[in-house]
Symmetry: C2
Subunit: 114 residues, 2 copies
Amino acid sequence: MSAALPTVACCAPLASPRLTEEEASATADLFKALGDPARVRIVNLIATASAAVCACELNDTLGLSQPTVSHHLKKLTDAGLLEREQRGKWAYFSLRREAVEKLASVADLKGACC
Amino acid sequence: MSAALPTVACCAPLASPRLTEEEASATADLFKALGDPARVRIVNLIATASAAVCACELNDTLGLSQPTVSHHLKKLTDAGLLEREQRGKWAYFSLRREAVEKLASVADLKGACC
């Protein structure tokens, strides 16, 4: 079960005609969540997996401790990029479709450029 | 005149089959540059302007001091997102086409999702 995700719901494309302070802040939060190499690698691993990825698999793959991986997973989940599902002892993570579409949208400046 | 931009040149899409540590780091740097509301608003203003934007116009529009605006413009230029052109006393900024395409590319997870 995942919580409501206002961060993702209210951010706006960088090329929007009028970006409010609230939209700018929400958009920045989304980028900030990805502004860390470990989080980029986690999203990359989950994006290229064929099914939800167990947190237990990420420690070894990334060469990071379990608390560090958990910290990054929480940041990404809070930002609305990941969906978390508890299965017994472990949590499994997958990409949230809505966030993926929003991310592509906010990063798309091609209509405005150059 | 702009300097070489390794950050933009070597980052990779989040859904790339194999993301090296260097690529993850460069990709994170690009997102990190946008992980601030003021920088999102600056990019938004420049993206929606019909011509290069004078740094002198941004202070009033954003309600930020000139040193703060200069700091953010430097971060965005260093990340390869903006092109800086000196015209007399003031610098003018526009989006870098290469960076815009790269940003859209690294943020595009739709092929991998969900």
